[in-house]
Amino acid sequence: MAEAPNTYKAGADDNGHFGLFGGRYVAETLMPLILEVERAYNACRADPKFAAELTHLNTHYAGRPSALYFAERLTAHFGGAKLYFKRDELNHTGSHKINNCLGQILVARRMGKTRIIAETGAGQHGVATATVCARFGLKCVIYMGAKDIERQKSNVFRMRLLGAEVRPVEKGSATLKDAMNEALRDWVANVNDTYYLIGTAAGPHPYPTMVRDFQSVIGEEVRDQLHAAEGRLPDSLVAAVGGGSNAIGLFHPFLDDVGVKMFGVEAAGRGINTGEHAASIAGGSPGVLHGNRTYLLQDENGQITDAHSISAGLDYPGIGPEHAWLHFQGRVDYVSATDIEALDAFQLCSKLEGILPALEPAHALAYVTRAAPKLPKDHIMVMNMCGRGDKDVFTVAEALGAKL
């Protein structure tokens, strides 16, 4: 573990590094583009009108603030920690992804871009991107792995209804990482009119920072809402981590509150020891992919290996660089939950709380299921319910052997 810094919120530095991690590992053709995005984002950040416009959209279009909900029956069921859900699944489009898309679409508009591209795994980011493009009348192209298109058909149709073109990616493992490769290839070939709206807190600088900033509304709201409900800070925060945008959004505003413990839950797939998982920290090592240095799933030759998770949104062989750094610093604990544990948590939450969680936060809840019973009753735990499970009912039905 590294020596504790004065603040955990100082990163990224001017070159986009979080300690060893992050950076701008892109081909020269892309370099001027990401520098332009960085300049534009810095200008937006300094402009109170930008913040006001975003707040207005968050309130009137996305429906923020999302509720902070005391999960009473699950709390009684676990018999330990007092569990709250941050209900980001209640946002317009059904997940936290809209927070980032609204922010970035305003940046893209200020840059004068007319065509938006994005990658998507579960389809939540694709839907959120297609939504904001429809709202602002911008052309939208979504890259999605062919395997993900198969398991997220309803989201694909939603994107098309919203006017987006969904381009299947057959290459590689035909999942999120390959969709990101194709989006980057599109971007280099369409530098003048196109903005790449990255959906997670990864990629080249400034994306990890920008996405984190737009998602931090989650943690900021939790801070105020929990203060109103309990008059104090939480004891622990729990969130699922694929690329890690919902987790960093919840964690970041609390990083310097040293009493608040944080748990990022990676997807252990069929189990870390089987090699079929998506847990970059538990089962990976540092490397460079998609513009940043971070923990990656890779073989002994530095070739990227395929991730596996029942959750398409966590099926990615990397993790955002700020998470890599927070792990390195020991500030956040990265744990994992398997496909089966997530399915169990999915069903438990549906039955006890009347909330169908997406398979992504079902991983977070799987960890809660293990941890909460061992904690005292005055321990306040906040879990990010970052997406709703409607999109996953077909996957869950198949996994449970149910015929629809």
């Binding site: 070159n15 950076g23 290459k171 290839r185 280099v188 070939a189 490397g287 460079v288 070739q303 990227i304």
Partner: protein, 285 residues
């Protein structure tokens, strides 16, 4: 071209000597790209060792990567064919060392993505590459802002780090790149991935004038050069033309659906390279 033998040179100057020689002969150079072990280690070696005698003035060897983000379908497929043999950096360096047993003048440049090199270790890579007889390295996803951690080891081992410049690189940005460049400068002629669009001669001509204001190094132009005619047209304005996807496409066509490799593949590839060299000779007035 007629090859001119010189003394064994281990000082990392093969690139400078080759461009000096080209100047003396008053013609542009041909840079050819193939991926290591594509389609098989044996066929690759036949092609690699045959390249100098059909007019390849500099040779780029691709280190395959699972996620080649800057490459189009041809080179992606080529990387996949290579990775079927689990090709790693040691295999690539062994091939270069083998090549060097018979060929001492032609510069060899490795081209790849950073992760396999980072995983191997920058210092270990630079030392092993120097021992194998590598002259330069192009790491596609390592812009000058991030390159120093590898470049420090390459410099210590007399290996040139060759940087890319692109149509999108502004006049303001060019000094950042070119102040770190050595060996030669690689100009990416199209805004896009390899092997897709066709390079535009007028745009290249304008770009060369712009680059020459910032560097005295030789300039090679690549991405979007597919035929002897295009090679001739583009190389009229620069020091060397790079052809990759078009060569790699021929390699790909030599592999049947069942994986069987056409035994005459090396001949076909080398004939094409010869036609490129012939097309390019006389490009300069």
């Amino acid at each position: 071209m007629s090859r001119i033998a010189s003394e064994v040179d281990n000082s990392g100057n093969r690139i400078a000597q080759r461009f000096a020689l080209l100047q003396k002969h008053k013609r542009p150079g041909l840079v050819t790209f193939i991926t290591a072990n594509d389609p098989t280690p044996e066929m690759f070696m036949q092609i690699f060792e045959g390249l100098p005698s059909v007019g390849a003035d500099l040779i780029e060897i691709g280190i395959p990567f699972s996620d080649p983000m800057a490459d189009g379908p041809s080179i992606q497929a080529s990387s996949q064919r290579s990775l079927k043999h689990r090709t790693n950096i040691n295999d690539v360096l062994t091939a270069v060392a083998e090549f060097r047993r018979s060929e001492i003048d032609t510069p060899v440049i490795l081209m790849g993505y950073y992760n396999p090199i980072y995983h191997y270790g920058g210092q270990e890579f630079a030392e092993a590459a120097a021992r194998a007889g590598v002259d330069g390295v192009i790491v596609v996803d390592l812009p000058p802002e991030e390159a120093e951690e590898l470049n420090v080891h390459l410099r210590a081992n007399d290996i040139h780090m060759i940087f890319l410049t692109a149509p999108t690189s502004s006049d303001e940005r060019l000094p950042t790149i070119l102040s770190k460049a050595s060996g030669f400068v690689y100009y990416v002629a199209i805004a896009g991935i390899t092997g897709t669009a066709v390079a535009d001669e007028q745009a290249v001509k304008t770009a060369m004038a712009r680059l020459r204001r910032h560097t005295k190094l030789p300039i090679a132009v690549g991405f979007g050069i597919k035929t002897p005619q295009q090679a001739r047209a583009i190389s009229a304005h620069c020091d060397a033309a790079v052809v990759g996807s078009a060569i790699v496409d021929i390699v790909g066509k030599g592999v049947a659906a069942d994986g069987k490799v056409d035994p005459s593949l090396s001949t076909k590839v080398l004939e094409f390279v010869k036609s490129l060299a012939t097309g390019l000779h006389g490009a300069w007035p």
